[in-house]
Symmetry: none
DNA sequence: AATTGAGGTGAACAATTTGTAAAGAGTTGG
DNA sequence: CCAACTCTTTACAAATTGTTCACCTCAATT
């Protein structure tokens, strides 16, 4: 059963962006464009979590939050512009579980949603392994360390994330565009050859280390982390 | 089984704030709005701990405390307004276990509750170590002291907490935003570069002391306390 | 074998991130 | 209320990474 999220946000650009990203992650997303509609949809669908913009005409986020709190314990994450809220106590009183300051990164939003859901419990959020082990290779995203043949190898963020992503699904091929979407973010607009360069640099660090795995090119398609 | 706390407080703002924070920490909270109700609820639910406002109409905190003491050893923490210092003397007689002066910080309340519960024992509060030991480094959050190479080093609160947080999970990277959330509080809205400055000042105190650990920057990600 | 398009590679350049100093704001204790 | 201390912000230089581009190599197809 999918986890459902209600987005209450009057800025169409933002809500669309959120919706796209969350749906990609497997959430069932519903969007409301103002406080009143938000409350109505909240009652109708009883979502597992609410993303709530603070600044909205007519009925602002705090009021909606308070109303939601009056009838359910559904976790609420407020979307606030920086400096928008001076009164932290007021915020806490209306019962928000977390805040996200605009402008935000999608990765942060996802992380917070998972954190809040985990805290609120009841809803289980399955977690991916943050540490991948292969022959003479450890990809540790918690420590953000790449260990090759027992030695730590300094590796920049993009390379780490790319390798982690590929190695998370061994033997599966990804096109450059898929990798750009997943590792760089779907809002990235750049040359797909950028992927090649990162693969090349990863290969410099990884080649000849083990014959049990390798970063392979699938001609005309993309790349994969092949494990024998 | 959750630890239960009874809050006896006539100021609705304060009790609500306390309740919210404590519930977030996993406590089962019950609120009473005056002394009489407090005593009734105390008898009904037999909480593990009582937070008791001193200034209340009709039946004040001291009377309630005395009544509680007459029938149980349940730990009691008194909430006193600043300037009611004479209350401390009275408090000793009525058997309160601790005092918190308004206005208080939630962190302090949580710390005291845990301290009192630990002292009173019987109730087990699984706790993180408040004292971390590394080569030539002692981070003691109970004494709030940092000992580097055998010498006490005067260290401001934020730096202590930041170091403690990082050192609590050695080798794990935290982003600036995660650190702001955990150390500064999730309702903190400020520049993430503030973290950098605190790290810098910590480094001044810590650099060159031991080769077994260090405060490392993970470029593009954040910071970690690395232990070899 | 030639052709064509995809991938490899090195280097330049651009963009981002971090270290640091210093100033100003905020707090605390006497 | 002042003095001392702490925290936050800001600015700029330095370091590092990310991106693009040109050119070369290689694979598949005819």
């Amino acid at each position: 059963m999918a986890v459902s999220v209600l987005i209450v946000e009057d800025d169409h650009n933002i809500s669309e962006l959120l919706q796209m990203y969350l749906e990609k992650e497997g959430y069932a997303v519903t969007v409301a464009v103002d406080g009143g509609q938000g409350l109505a949809k909240f009652r109708a669908i009883k979502p597992d979590l609410v993303l709530l913009d603070v600044m909205m005409p007519v009925m602002d986020g705090w009021s909606v939050c308070k109303a939601i709190r009056a009838e359910a314990q559904t976790p609420v994450i407020m979307l606030t512009a920086k400096g928008e809220t001076d009164d932290k106590v007021a915020g806490l009183k209306t019962g928000a579980d977390d805040y996200i300051t605009k402008p935000f990164e999608m990765k942060e939003v996802l992380a917070r949603i998972e954190a809040v859901l985990r805290r609120a419990s009841g809803v289980s959020v399955e977690k991916k392994a943050r540490r991948l082990l292969f022959d003479k290779l450890i990809i540790d995203m918690d420590a953000f360390e790449l260990t090759v043949d027992g030695r730590k190898v300094d590796t920049p963020p993009k390379e780490m994330e790319l390798l982690y992503y590929l190695a998370s699904s061994p033997n599966r091929v990804y096109t450059r565009n898929q990798l750009l979407d997943e590792v760089w973010g779907f809002d990235y607009f750049g040359d797909s050859r950028t992927v090649d360069v990162h693969v090349k640099r990863l290969r410099e660090k990884l080649e000849g280390v083990s014959d049990k795995w390798s970063l392979k090119t699938v001609w005309g398609v993309g790349y994969k982390f092949e494990v024998l």
